[in-house]
């Protein structure tokens, strides 16, 4: 139970070609099929942009990938090893060095920051009691060094409800960095952020790649994702319909492409 993040980074498993690979994944919600025949591999050291209209299945896809939802059918491999879907959970994804930053569901509003950093993987003694001092010390360190919140009046005891949108994303991203994730999944992290804060988040996404990790970046704003992604996966009605290298297609052409897809729906 005593979680030492540095010891579980997957440094022991350097021999793999993809961090996560999905094969033939299907997901139904009752009669509605949210994902169809998804085959997708995320390699190391790449940023994959995931784009598509509302309801295309982007969020469902990453929830399946991170153990929040169980797929109806298909296989998931993490570092080339198949995971048992009955056991796959958020906690297991964390243990496998996969972290997720959601647009608005990453932090609990009324709880202090230090609890938000460690909840789900607390530093405890063997009876489950939390080592508050150790957690606060590490949280302090994450705030100052990883996130760069210095002198902003934010402490480990601040409650999330008092932070701005950008600060929240910073906290959530800093947490993912702290846990040394091999794969960081960002679900629209720039929604509702001020321009200056968007820049910070994009810088962070680039830093993920520079540090040899991978990222999946879900984004509505095509300019943002075009800017940082190495390849773009286009989802439409639960299916992967295209894979695009940003250098082969300008933001303008990309926009045209997506609009054409939507017109197919109507027509």
């Amino acid at each position: 139970m005593n979680n030492n993040p540095a010891s579980q980074t997957g440094a022991d498993a350097q021999d793999f070609t993809s961090i996560v690979r999905l094969e033939g994944v299907q997901k139904f919600f009752g009669p509605v099929q949210a994902l169809r025949d998804i085959d997708l591999a995320i390699g190391r050291n790449e940023i994959v942009g995931l784009i598509g209209d509302n309801g295309a299945g982007k969020s469902t896809l990453i929830k399946v990938m991170t153990g929040v939802l169980e797929p109806t059918a298909g296989r998931i491999y993490v570092r080339d090893r198949e995971v048992d879907l009955a056991d796959y959970s958020v906690r297991m994804a964390h243990d496998l060095s996969i972290e997720t930053v959601y647009q608005d569901r990453s932090l609990a509003e009324k709880q202090p920051l230090w609890r938000n950093f460690f909840v789900g993987r607390q530093i405890t003694n063997r009876f489950g009691f939390i080592d508050v001092r150790a957690e606060k010390a590490i949280a302090e360190d994450i705030l100052k060094r990883a996130i760069g919140f210095r002198g902003a009046g934010i402490t480990v005891d601040s409650t999330v409800a008092n932070l701005s949108g950008g600060e929240r994303q910073g906290i959530a991203i800093g947490r993912a960095m702290h846990y040394n994730a091999d794969l960081i999944i960002l679900d629209e992290p720039t929604v509702a952020l001020a321009v200056k804060e968007v820049r910070k988040v994009l810088d962070f996404v680039r830093r993920i790649k520079d540090s040899g990790r991978a990222a999946i970046y879900i984004e509505h704003n095509l300019a943002h994702v075009h800017d940082v992604a190495d390849r773009l996966i286009v989802l439409d009605r639960g299916r992967i319909v295209a894979e695009i290298a940003p250098k082969d297609m300008s933001v303008m052409d990309l926009t045209e492409f997506l609009i054409a897809l939507q017109q197919d729906h109507i027509g």
């Binding site: 991170t66 929040v68 959970s89 958020v90 906690r91 964390h94 997720t100 959601y102 569901r105 990453s106 932090l107 609990a108 509003e109 009324k110 709880q111 202090p112 609890r115 909840v119 789900g120 993987r121 607390q122 405890t124 009876f127 489950g128 009691f129 939390i130 508050v132 009046g153 934010i154 402490t155 005891d157 601040s158 409650t159 409800a161 008092n162 932070l163």
Partner: protein, 349 residues
């Protein structure tokens, strides 16, 4: 930029406002009824009558902190009290009767948890239904009879759970009246304070109260923790039932009825958020003191017992408005907006 980022003073000193209210109320009653409130006996009486309420309210602090509610505990008091009383009296099982009583409460709580977490019935409805079911079971099984536990004070069960260890030792009379259940209750409540504030389970409870969906993506097993939560409540209600039955040396079927509103009121007066995510056990204990003291105090001050519920209701309401105002700025704003805006029709979407 001086932003108000850390928790307010009120939030940092756990239960501070409610302690102040308690002290003021105590001073008021000391002034209005000195013949009662300046004597030790009223306080030793509190120590023997308040423990069941405190145990229930402490359990409810976890439940409400997790954004849930449990309405079934009065039925657990009836049902577990019956299980204990019948095994204790008719079968003379002694400590086994205590164990069986506790087990029955834990089982009922576990079933509540499964209904809420696994089957997905909102806790308000699920525990409303189980409240009827278990109260009905208690009536059916007991045939509506009450059980007088005459001679119970001879048993080790009575002496160890609700005994008066100093009675007859030659100490002052009020010391001789100190009841053991107040000690057990204090031990349990302090232990639960550590569980809520320092244990993984308590942290999960508050995160679940904050948001179920955030808790899930953070890796909390929400369903399992909810089952644990209701099971804990069931166990505490059973403990309260056993203390109550032994203290009264009598079991009767509707002995839990008076506790539903007083326990919920104690928790909310104490400062635990009705919306979940924030809970204070210190506040709850002082909430219980206030609820208990109002009853004795009003009667001692010369008002009839009929006033008790009215005043308790008023205190309850005042406390909730106060917390809404102090601790929930967003909700307060929305509330004020609702008050000042005229109702208008919204187009259907």
């Amino acid at each position: 930029m001086a932003r108000h980022l850390t928790a307010s003073l009120i939030a940092r000193l756990e239960g501070l406002p409610i302690m102040l209210v308690f002290v003021m109320l105590l001073a008021l009653f000391m002034y209005l009824a000195p013949q009662v409130f300046l004597q030790p006996f009223i306080y030793t009486t509190f120590l023997s009558t308040l423990p069941p309420l405190i145990l229930l309210a402490t359990g409810l602090t976890f439940i409400i902190g997790a954004g849930e509610i449990d309405l079934s505990f009065p039925a657990i008091i009836a049902f577990s009290g019956f299980v204990f009383a019948v095994l204790f009296k008719e079968y003379e099982l002694g400590w086994l009767a205590v164990a069986a009583g506790l087990a029955s409460g834990i089982l009922v709580g576990f079933i509540n948890g499964v209904l809420v977490a696994k089957i997905g019935i909102p806790s308000f409805m699920a525990t409303l239904a189980t409240q009827f079911f278990w109260a009905g079971m208690a009536t059916v099984l007991s045939g509506g009879k009450s059980y007088a536990l005459r001679g119970a004070e001879e048993s080790s069960v009575w002496r160890w759970i609700v005994g008066r260890p100093f009675s007859g030792t030659g100490a002052a009379i009020w010391i001789g009246q100190l009841p053991l259940q107040s000690l057990w209750t204090a031990v349990i409540v302090i232990w639960l304070w550590f569980i809520l504030n320092r244990h993984r389970f308590g942290e999960h409870v508050l995160f679940i109260g904050d948001s179920n969906s955030v808790s899930r993506v953070l890796g909390i097993d929400v369903d399992r923790e909810k089952i644990k939560l209701f099971t804990l409540m069931g166990g505490l209600a059973a403990a309260a039932a056993i203390m109550l039955t032994l203290e009264n040396k009598n079991y009767f079927g509707n002995q839990g009825q008076g506790y539903l509103l007083t326990a919920i009121a104690s928790v909310l007066i104490g400062g635990t958020s009705i919306f979940g995510g924030r809970a204070t056990i210190v506040g709850t204990v002082f909430g219980c003191f206030i609820i208990g003291m109002i009853e004795a105090g009003l009667v001692a001050a010369g008002l009839t017992g009929a006033w008790v519920r009215t005043i308790q209701g008023l205190v309850f309401l005042t406390a909730m408005i106060f917390y809404l105002y102090v601790d929930e700025p967003q909700r307060r704003a929305a509330f004020m907006a609702r008050l000042t805006r005229l109702p208008r029709f919204r187009p259907m979407r």
